[in-house]
């Protein structure tokens, strides 16, 4: 089996799963309990928080555990909207965001907020200048993903941050779900980023885990009210086993990170070079993009058909993004890139992780060659 759908989800790493099981079996107290079982769970929770904070270069007090990337995005956006609505009701985002962002924005629009959706160029990249011209006196949030989940385009987060330095009261949210461990992301105290979303299962942790970075001093309203966990900002009994497992997964992700990125880049570049040779292939990812995503279309063949054809060969890829791939609609990122619908429906995405090898890429290309010849005749 070749698993090339790592932007949808990753395999849980063995020792990460072991941590999850050990904690579930032996340290299953509620961190809020006063007795020693609670103390142990709380200690592990705080150690996990500390480890995660130190890996991504922020303070412990700036990490809030969530259940998913989707929750993080919803919280950052709606939490900002609720907290700051008396100062303004204008939000800025892009046309290529993950549905967790897009749908949160849509819901706010129904409640009377206004949203500006920034366009992208043909590589799927927004411009910082557009951000600047979209800012209004009543703008309260700018939300931009660091790496696009469909084509892997890397957004100019630093430049947008520079623009936003002149507007210190606007919250700057970055969906970093696809970026962590793949592209540099500066969250140090000098960075302009206020909020950043992360998801555990995208880096070999378990589903149902994630965290939101909230810069010290920034306030967003809670969405989950209750027992006052996470300093009263995100209630709900903490998923200690999942969180500890995620802390481990993150440590492993950052272990020899540069070599891993370089290796994925090499495979990605190799695949781009090879795919480019086919006349009916149109590539949407570039070598400037994130090191783990190759998105391309085979003209005239629907993406879904390609996915199933590869599946027969035990190769698992995806149409553009797993979250929208069950719907018939074509990719919104590609639409935003002005790719004609006819071509966009043929798009598929290969997404890598650090355990993928060049041999797997070669195997994939051999299968592709076969399918290509086959489909060529059908059409």
């Amino acid at each position: 089996m070749i698993y090339f759908d790592n932007s949808a989800t990753t395999q849980v790493e063995d020792s990460v799963l072991e941590t999850f099981m050990k904690v579930s079996q032996k340290m299953n107290g509620n961190p809020s309990s006063l007795h020693k079982l609670g103390d142990v769970a709380d200690g592990l929770l705080q150690q996990s928080r500390k480890q995660i904070a130190s890996i991504i270069g922020v303070q412990e007090s700036e990490i809030y555990f969530t259940s998913s990337g989707t929750e993080g995005d919803n919280w950052a956006i709606k939490g900002t909207a609720i907290e700051k609505m008396r100062y303004g009701k204008h939000l800025i985002t892009t046309m290529i965001e993950h549905p967790a962002v897009k749908e949160s924005m849509a819901q706010l629009e129904q409640l009377g907020f206004e949203v500006t959706y920034l366009p992208v160029n043909e590589e799927g990249i927004i411009s910082a200048a557009d951000v600047k011209s979209a800012i209004r006196p009543d703008t309260i949030l700018v939300s931009i993903m660091a790496v696009n989940n469909e084509v892997g385009s890397v957004q100019p987060i630093e430049e947008v941050g520079e623009v936003l330095r002149e507007y210190p009261s606007i919250h700057f949210h970055v969906d970093a779900v696809q970026a962590i461990g793949k592209v540099p992301l500066d969250l140090s105290s000098s960075s302009r980023i206020d909020l950043a979303t992360f998801s555990g299962h995208k880096f070999h942790g378990l589903k149902g885990t994630g965290f939101l970075y909230i810069k010290r001093g920034r306030i967003i309203a809670p969405l989950l009210n209750g027992g006052g966990q996470e300093k009263g900002r995100r209630s709900g009994t903490e998923n200690v086993a999942g969180i500890a497992a995620m802390a481990r997964a993150l440590r492993l992700l950052f272990d020899q990170k540069e070599q891993k990125i370089a290796a994925q880049k090499q495979i990605r570049d190799y695949m781009i070079d090879e795919l480019e040779k086919y006349s009916k292939v149109q590539l949407f990812s570039t070598k400037n993009g994130a090191p783990h995503i190759v998105c391309f279309a085979l003209t005239g063949i629907r993406g879904e058909v390609s996915v199933h054809a590869f599946e027969k060969e035990e190769i698992f890829i995806s149409t553009t993004s797993a979250c929208s791939s069950r719907n018939k609609t074509s990719s919104s990122t590609l639409a935003a890139m002005n790719v004609p619908n006819k071509i966009a429906t043929g798009a598929v995405r290969v997404s890598l992780t650090d355990t993928n090898t060049k041999e797997e890429a070669q195997q994939f290309l051999r299968s592709f060659e076969k399918l290509y010849e086959n489909f060529k005749n059908i059409k």
């Binding site: 941590t19 050990k22 103390d39 200690g43 150690q47 996990s48 480890q51 481990r248």
Partner: protein
């Protein structure tokens, strides 16, 4: 850079005549205690200074551990090399390069203890100076007040290079002034009082009162964590837990509210004094300061101090709260101290304790209790432990969870 020796210069103690030997050996002990997990380090306490042979111990870590030890004026990391000038050149360049930043100046200061060495002081100064100018671009020589002074000592057993002098903590080696009992609650003041006592050479032992189930295991752990923080200044500390539940319950039952606090503190003072006797201590230290709340008036001190003739020393007595907090932050106890766990001083705390307790009334109320019996039972239940630097809950958890994370 990995150094293989450290030279330690003594502080105030170099002026003490007769006691000097005792001071030096005590300092050596304290240094060894602070380096307890580096058994390979050899400590040689000589008349004028102390040498640490590091063997393969991490020199950065050793230097860091020396920083808080009282009785050290300053210290320098040293490279001891064979008498081979090629090797000396290499290390000299590396050492200066580590400290060099554009615009900085340097000089070489050579001393020869071995006058038979073929090169004389000037030869060595010139040779190493040339070498450094050749290898570090932009560096300038300056004889008066250079930024970097590379000291070279030629001795029979080798050539010693050093270029940094690190300020020590000053004060007197812990233990040279005798032993004292510190009444350690979980608050901000008492760890600071302990630190100040240690600074003047007192070997401090921490006495902590706890009253389960009114006080939680976390409150006890917090006191231990605080002890571990101040252990940084002496290597390790004796920690003595006093079971205090029965006494507090008895007082609560029999003493009017206004006098609860005063009588409670008299018991603490008595028990601390008993422990002092047992441990052959000379004085009692606590974190009392003069203020407006009930436990901090001079009237209150009279009523509490009434139970003993032992000197009760209050190092923070005249400090403002902010001054105490500044020190607490410096010794890294502040964040721990403000954790919200109830200790013995806050449970049963009456809404309105007497700010001016009457001594005679205090004695009368206390007479209702079986003072001797209560104290004896508490003394029988003492728990002693030794706490070292790094014995904090945080560290234990870090250790315990490292496999998982």
């Amino acid at each position: 850079m990995q150094y293989n020796e450290v030279m330690v210069r003594y502080g105030e103690l170099s002026i003490k005549g007769k006691n000097k030997k005792a001071f030096i050996s005590r300092l050596a002990q304290n240094v060894k205690a602070a380096l307890y997990d580096f058994p390979e380090v050899k400590v040689h306490g000589e008349r004028d200074r102390m040498h640490l042979e590091l063997k393969n111990a991490d020199s950065d870590e050793v230097l860091k551990r020396l920083e808080p030890i009282f009785g050290i004026q300053n210290y320098s990391p040293v490279m001891k090399l064979d008498r081979d000038m090629e090797q000396v050149k290499k290390v000299a360049i590396e050492m200066v390069r580590e400290q060099y930043a554009p615009g900085k100046t340097f000089k070489i200061a050579t001393r020869r203890a071995d006058h038979e060495f073929p090169l004389d002081t000037n030869d060595i100064n010139l040779m190493l100076g040339d070498e450094i100018i050749d290898h570090i671009e932009g560096i300038q020589v300056q004889m008066k007040k250079p930024d970097i002074t590379l000291r070279v000592e030629v001795r029979l057993n080798g050539i010693f290079l050093s270029s940094q002098t690190i300020q020590g903590a000053g004060g007197l080696p812990v233990g040279t002034s005798g032993r004292g009992m510190l009444m350690l609650s979980g608050g901000i003041d008492s760890p600071v009082a302990g630190y100040l006592a240690m600074k003047r050479g007192v070997e401090v032992e921490a006495v902590h009162f706890h009253s389960p189930p009114y006080t939680s295991p976390r409150a006890l752990q917090k006191a231990k964590d605080l002890t571990s923080k101040i252990a940084a200044f002496s290597g390790r500390l004796q920690f003595i837990e006093v079971p205090f539940t029965e006494i507090q319950e008895e007082i609560k039952k029999n003493v009017p509210e206004g006098y609860l606090m005063t009588v409670t503190r008299r018991f603490m003072m008595r028990i601390t004094d008993r422990i002092r006797e047992q441990r052959r201590g000379l004085a009692i230290f606590n974190g009392e300061s003069l203020g407006q709340v009930a436990s901090q008036t001079m009237h209150s001190m009279i009523a509490i101090n009434d139970v003993t003739n032992t000197p009760v020393l209050r190092p923070v007595v005249s400090m403002d709260k902010n001054e105490i907090i500044d020190i607490a932050k410096k010794i890294d106890t502040f964040e721990l101290s403000i954790q919200p766990f109830e200790d013995c001083c806050t449970i049963f705390a009456p809404p309105a304790p007497k700010t001016k307790p009457d001594l005679q009334k205090t004695r009368d109320f206390e007479a209702r209790l079986d003072v001797e019996g209560l104290i004896e039972r508490a003394m029988a239940g003492l728990v002693m432990s030794t706490i070292s630097v790094g014995d904090t809950l945080e560290e234990q958890q870090h250790e315990a969870f490292s496999d998982l994370l």
